[in-house]
Amino acid sequence: MGNKQTVFTHEQLEEYQVGVMSGALTGLFYRYQDLAPQLVPLDYTSCPDVKVPYELIGTMPELKDNPFRLRIAQVFSEDGDGHMTLNNFLDMFSVMSEMAPRDLKAYYAFKIYGVCRAGDFNNDDYICMWDLEQTVTKLTRGELSAEEVSLVCEKVLDEADGDHDGRLSLEDFQNMILRAPDFLR
């Protein structure tokens, strides 16, 4: 079985330090490898270009039951389609970990909630009405009726939209999150 020396070269370990805490790297790599043992080689010294498809990522215990798992995978993946390389995987874990600062988490949470852009064409930073409706539906799993959902979205925009332009910018989101200290503990 590979130990640290055969999986990554020394330089690679040094480089990865900017992304993940040094102790976590090996553990995370093995988790990544476990998801797709045939796809992911044990030897990363040659930096292979391997992507684990979203279907396998979605089976991880942390993500399996999360209603936002598709969106999380899309935000962190290379092309926005949910298939993640090792770098993307490490990014995701480092942001989702407890050690990540709140600002960083708030930034990514904003991207996660901003569902509606499917291509990279329109990845500007807003949460529009459509995003809100998608979020509410995911959160309540269809328990609310359509008009309740739209009423809720209207109220959210009322409360949170600071400049009254009909959608939430990153600043509106952060303003709101700052007043909700239970966020992402």
Binding site: D125, E143, D165, R179
Partner: protein, 783 residues
């Protein structure tokens, strides 16, 4: 045609128009000196990706200037938003955008170079970038750093010293914080609890762990400074050991280090001429040190919670937005997720119905009825609390005679038993009031319940303290301090036994009833408030008792340790996740405030009265024979004043601690500072309100400009129907709204470049500005 720079300036200026001005803005143009490159590329960028690049940049820049303090890395957002999903754009060939790009990046690199490599890695790690970008950034920083000429250290040794000291200090702090993080107790268990039950139940366990830290610290301090020296001077134990001591604390334990009475009042000296250890001073200083450190620790925690949780009173929100966006990402269990979703929908529905009903006004009759019900509930609850206190007092008074008539040593347990029964039954009685009373805001109900319970518990402790200090201390018993210590020990132990019984039997029975017999009840929910109050009650007793029974923190340590595991097991077996969002951090603020205000300050008062007013017992303990406890300090100061090398201590004591003038001046200074800070806070609130209004006005300005643009486009289209070309590139279908926007964007784009040439100057200005806002077209009038 306008040059690139001029376009920039005009654009920037429009955004700086003062609020409230909603007319045609072109007359207010002036040319400020601003940074270039904001939105330079109207004529230059014509590809699809260019729109991505410029538009986020503009918004980031504008928002950056206004909201810089909100986001630590906001100056770099523009860098992020264009590089995160399209890394190839970093090397765009358009001169102005890459110039902007490089500028921002150079700022970042410049800020990273002076840091130590550890800090640098940490700072890069906290950037919102992908791994590839972070590595690139690090390489660039390293390259830049190596390029800088190595400064020959001409600094004198003073600055060198300071540098090395600060470096060592920073390194120490980093190591310490990493160490503390790694040895955190029960980390995994807490994660599991949080995953299954959410952050609210987790906050109870965190509180328990925090109290455990207090007790561990107190124990270490008292054990090392008081108990260990006492061990070296042993005494004889006249009692026999029977098993009952664990419950009564009396008997064999009376003559051990456990109680005050065992401690010697002598100055311990092991070798003649060797170091001497004054037990009196050690005792009083150790207890004082424990309490002072607890005080500061509580104060800082409370301040930190207040700072994080203070709600801005200007922007009151009902909290729907918080409900939506505060999905608890720590929940991983499938059933818990489903349950949380169900609860969330129920809560959203309740919130909606509240909103819909908030316009319903109650008639005068209804208001009066509600008020009278509240009043009656308060009267009853206060009455019950006072009745309990009176009962406890009478029981305590008659306890002595009762004990003399009954020779059973277990009879001392009657008083603690009654107190624990009261603590068990009356809070549940208070909860029943909730069925009768109606509150508009459900949170009020929780607060009212908490206040009633804390009033009950604090008044019971208060009446017991009064009894101890008034009756027991003055009754002429020998070793009254030991007696008090034993009483407190018994109270604590009985409380612990009752909690265990409650967890093992009560909750278990409730689960059996809920699951087998009356299935409509289902599983119960963890009552966080009641459990936290029990912890606060126990901690108050421990703080009072440390003076009389120095090993009490050790006992409380063991108790808390066991309680953690018991509660954890019971939680997993007998409870379901809470249905209402609990707002854990607001509650924690309130709990820590409760811990500080009635609890800790009460302890300080009690101990102050003991030390300044009571006469120590003549036969036992470190203060035997003194007229007051405080006289030990007085005599110490007297002895110090005779030796010449410690006169400064005497001076400090006489002129600072003992002097009224000093405290008067200090109080005056503190009041002045408080007043100034209060005024500053008021000023900041006003500023927040003004800024908020400004943001709203800017939004209105934006809408005005969009309408203007749309009108101009209409007139142009009617004038020249053939001169527009719609470029549609092959992009995947993002969503129904956005293909429309995309078209509109291109229309605007080409319109703007066309019109730049054709229109007079002032129209061009308004135009260039408004074409920035192309996504808004989906909300404005449709083209």
């Amino acid at each position: 045609m306008l040059s690139g720079d001029q376009v920039n300036e005009i654009v920037i200026n429009v955004e700086n128009v003062p609020s409230g001005v909603q007319n045609h803005r072109s007359s207010n143009l002036s040319v400020p000196a601003t940074k270039s490159g904001v939105n330079s590329s109207f004529g230059v960028v014509s590809s699809v990706s260019g729109i991505d690049v410029t538009e986020p940049q503009v918004y980031s820049r504008r928002n950056d200037r206004k909201a810089k303090q909100l986001l630590r890395f906001s100056p770099l957002k523009e860098l992020f938003s264009q590089t995160h999903h399209s890394p190839d754009l970093v090397d765009m060939d358009t001169p102005c955008t890459s110039h902007e790009n490089i500028q921002g990046r150079q700022k970042l690199i410049a800020s990273l170079i002076p840091m130590t490599s550890r800090d640098r890695i940490k700072a890069i790690r906290n950037q919102p970038r992908t791994m590839e970008e972070k590595r690139k950034l690090r390489r660039m920083v390293d390259k830049e750093k190596s390029k800088q000429p190595r400064r020959i250290f001409e600094l004198n040794c003073c600055t060198q010293c300071l540098n090395s000291i600060s470096l060592a200090y920073r390194r120490c702090r980093n190591i310490l914080s990493e160490l503390l993080n790694s040895i955190s107790l029960w980390q995994k268990t807490l994660k599991i609890i949080g995953g299954k039950f959410g952050t609210s139940v987790l906050s109870y366990f965190n509180f328990l762990r925090w109290l455990l830290k207090f007790n561990i610290f107190s124990f270490i301090v008292t054990f090392s400074f008081i108990t260990i020296p006492q061990f070296t001077v042993g005494g004889n134990n006249a009692f026999k050991f029977t098993g009952l001591e664990f419950f009564t604390g009396a008997g064999y334990f009376t003559d051990t280090v456990m109680y005050y009475g065992f401690y010697t009042n002598s100055t311990i000296r092991h070798q003649s001429g060797g170091a001497s250890y004054n037990m009196q001073l050690a005792y009083i200083f150790t207890v004082a040190a424990c309490l002072i450190i607890c005080f500061f620790s509580l104060l800082f925690s409370m301040a930190r919670y207040f700072r994080n949780n203070f709600i801005n009173p200007h922007i009151y929100s009902r909290g729907i937005a918080k409900l939506i966006f505060c999905w608890d990402f720590t929940i991983t269990h499938e059933k818990a997720v489903k349950l949380k979703q169900k609860n969330l929908s129920t809560e959203i529905r309740e919130n909606l119905s509240e909103i819909l009903q908030e316009n319903v006004k109650l008639t005068l009759n209804q208001q009066l009825t509600r008020l009278s019900v509240h009043l009656a509930a308060w009267v009853v609850s206060t009455g019950v609390a006072i009745a309990c206190c009176v009962a406890v007092y009478f029981l305590a008074e008659n306890n002595l005679e009762f004990l003399k008539s009954h020779q059973n040593p277990g009879a001392v347990l009657l008083l603690p038993f009654v107190v624990s029964c009261i603590n068990l039954a009356v809070p549940r009685f208070y909860s029943m009031f909730g069925l009768l009373e109606h509150y508009e805001v459900p949170r009020q109900e929780v607060y009212v319940l908490l206040i009633r319970n804390i009033f009950l518990k604090i008044s019971i402790i208060g009446i017991l303290c009064y009894y101890w200090l008034h009756n027991v201390a003055l009754a002429g018993e020998e070793c009254w301090e030991t007696l008090i210590g034993q009483e407190i020990y018994r109270l604590l132990l009985m409380d612990f036994v009752f909690s265990l019984a409650d967890s093992f039997l009560g909750e278990f029975l409730r689960r059996i009833i809920g699951m087998q017999f009356i299935t409509s009840l289902g599983l119960q929910e963890f009552d966080i408030a009641r459990n936290v109050l029990e912890l606060i009650y126990a901690q108050t007793l421990v703080w009072i008792g440390t003076f009389f029974c120095p090993l009490l923190p050790f006992i409380q340590m063991i108790t808390l340790f066991i309680m953690f595991y018991v509660k954890n097991i019971s939680l997993m077996m007998n409870f379901q996740p809470p249905s209402k969002a609990w707002r854990a951090s607001q509650m924690m603020t309130f709990f820590i405030f409760l811990l500080f205000f009635p609890s800790f300050t009460g302890v300080l008062c009690t101990l102050a009265i003991t030390i300044w007013r009571l006469k120590p017992s003549a036969e036992c303990g470190p203060f035997r024979g003194l007229p007051f406890f405080i006289h030990s300090i007085y005599s110490w100061i007297d002895t110090l004043s005779k030796s010449p090398s410690y006169l400064w201590v005497v001076w400090i004591y006489r002129h600072l601690i003992g002097s009224v003038h000093f405290f008067f001046i200090l109080t005056l200074i503190v009041l002045i500072i408080t007043y100034l800070y209060w005024q500053i806070t008021e000023g900041r609130k006003i500023m927040i309100r003004l800024l908020h209004e400004q943001i709203i006005n800017e939004g209105k300005d934006k809408m005005f400009l969009i309408e203007k643009l749309a009108k101009l486009q209409d007139t142009e289209r009617r004038a020249n129907p053939g001169s527009f070309t719609l470029e549609r590139t092959d992009v995947e279908e993002p969503g129904p709204l956005y293909s429309q926007e995309h078209e509109a964007a291109h229309v605007v784009f080409h319109v703007s470049s066309f019109l730049e040439e054709a229109l007079p100057n002032d129209c061009k200005a308004a135009f260039s500005a408004s074409s920035v806002n192309w996504p808004d077209l989906s909300h404005g009038p449709h083209l």
